[in-house]
Symmetry: C2
Subunit: 434 residues, 2 copies
Amino acid sequence: MNQLAAEGILGSYPERERQMMDLTEMGQRAKKAATILASSSTQVKNSALILMADALMENSVRVMEANQKDVEESQARGMSEILLDRLVLNEKRVADMAEGIKSLIGLSDPVGEIIWGSRLPNGLILTKVRVPLGVVGIIYEARPNVTVDASVLCLKSGNAVILRGSSNTLSSNVALVGVLRDCLKEAGLPEDSIQLVSSPEREYAVQLMRLREYVDVLIPRGGKDLIENVVANSTVPVIETGIGNCHIYVDENADVEMALQILLNAKTQRPSVCNAAESLLVHGSIADVFLPRAIQALTEKKVTVYGCSRTLSYGQEVLPASEDDYYREYLDLKIAVKVLDSLQEAIDHINKYGSHHSDAIVTNDYSSAQKFTQEVDSAAVYVNASTRFTDGFQYGLGAEIGISTQRLHARGPMGLKELTTSKFVVYGQGQVRK
Amino acid sequence: MNQLAAEGILGSYPERERQMMDLTEMGQRAKKAATILASSSTQVKNSALILMADALMENSVRVMEANQKDVEESQARGMSEILLDRLVLNEKRVADMAEGIKSLIGLSDPVGEIIWGSRLPNGLILTKVRVPLGVVGIIYEARPNVTVDASVLCLKSGNAVILRGSSNTLSSNVALVGVLRDCLKEAGLPEDSIQLVSSPEREYAVQLMRLREYVDVLIPRGGKDLIENVVANSTVPVIETGIGNCHIYVDENADVEMALQILLNAKTQRPSVCNAAESLLVHGSIADVFLPRAIQALTEKKVTVYGCSRTLSYGQEVLPASEDDYYREYLDLKIAVKVLDSLQEAIDHINKYGSHHSDAIVTNDYSSAQKFTQEVDSAAVYVNASTRFTDGFQYGLGAEIGISTQRLHARGPMGLKELTTSKFVVYGQGQVRK
């Protein structure tokens, strides 16, 4: 900390505040900021976003220096290459963040939208108005882009945010949040609209999960352990996001070439993200044609294949899969493969072992496609397309705070609207109930 | 239990099942039923509803007998008149339940509705389809009408339900659920679509709150203690409903006659329900004109008035209010009154002491109305109307499972749509991500 302060990468996040870190006080300040944000105009919020995009570019060197510190320390701790890839900031990635911010400016402000209205027979005028959620807590892993993404999405949707990132990316986060808070101040918005829990102790994460009086929703972004921990310990309502044990099911009547392309794209195009495929299911009657080619293609792409007993017979490279492999989100160049004898078995397998994120069938059979989309209980279900499309930008939502794998409030990619709630505003002329 | 069985009011709810009451097994059966319900046609669900409405009327005598037992036992335990009023079933109330069921038949089925769609530039066809939540748990107090309402709303929206009512209304619930399950069977739907935790031990409520693997959402319906208990102990996602510390704020420029009518309606028309007023706030500059008449009118209606020091000077009947009185949901002929010196004080009071349910301003000042509706952070905010209108039927939603006072998923009266979630179904022709 002191070293960071000495290096001048703390922006407006004063040492004093970080040392007294009391989350109750942080919650109170967030609530206060949220009240102001809720009635801030689109214009003011957009002006802050413009400042932020520019400031990130102007401060890219000091942000990357802070990030370099995180990267070196994480490397020294033996972090895997794939996780390091998510942690690293380079010029392109900082520029991408700035572009991401700019892209929000043009999106319509969800706050104040009248989403329903009715004039009741008794003359009452009923309106249902979109309002911010209030204070959003984000608990996440070593991905500094989440720091910026989450902050600006919350700002545009009128929410205050409390960020609790991984200790592995603390320097990056402190630098980024410092830049963002300076811009809030310059735009005339409360700095406490964006706050960072900058102490690495686990105790603070637990405090945040219990800050029910001040935090309206907690969005954990990370792996299975993180999410399960938050769900088990939080009294603040949680939106579960992003555990992706995604499946590609190759049906009896699949186009083999198409299936290969979709499989390779879903598994290898970016294996570290939640919408990458982790499991391949193959109908027994197409296994002879499809699996030898699939195993060869995966192996050429350096994917380790774990297979069921039937899969083992299709390639020497295949290692035996345990029951656990079918539950796993590898986030790595690994895949679990199973041969099944019916579409129903595939659906049952996905609903049992999957994470209800994104699952695809490759088929030319109309009934199979309909049955699969109806019965697979996931946030996004695909016919003849890669699971990699489950993403707010790809879906044209313009933005994404995460991908909900739960059923309440939001399911699938969450954009600005999913960061709002509503209230009924009712106009009368003295009506009473009979 | 054995006595009930002997009396033949158990319907198809066999003794054996109640004795082995294992909620894990109950959860598994609910999940299985939910899968079938999710793809059941509107026609089949409606045919079950028709059977239920008829069967309730046909079995009204035995239902009322079972209810009489609950009433007598609750009276013996000293239950208050107002709570007894919510427990009692008479012919009219049974007929109302049957009418309530019939009114659902004509409502459009939310399941399968395509709520959004898009053709992406890459040719992917994106649809967002409404699907049931899955398994809904309801934990509630001694209100047998909730047993029927919740069951049929869940059925129409394709959800299985697990009910856990108060032990004070166990006989009524067993009788009612027996009738409903018979009808499910007759309509060819799984009986386990509606299950009752028919053991009164608190342990089962706790089990239900932890049944995360099988229960998708828990909706507690009842008083503050019940809700807080569920929130604190549940790992299943919760929708908080119905704590109503509702306010009537009489502004400086209020029409005094209108304010009196709204106050009396909100406080006395049905004091035992959540949208009844519990607090009255009065602007100081109208207190001399308004409060003496208000206190007199309330007293005539047998309402006990607890007031701040300034209120005390307007009527001998007024008792001193403690800080706690402003937090209370009396659900009784009692009201807490406070005189304030500005609209801002009223807004701050409501946001601090209120339950974010329903709050009203009586005013003829346009700016006051706008400020109040913008800044009061409640599910429903009224100008010049009684808070008693916060209700799914009154709002024209056709039905109501509860009134959400939380921000996530649903806020205010929850109808059929609020018992659903969505999934993305995406149709491709081999698209992969670049």
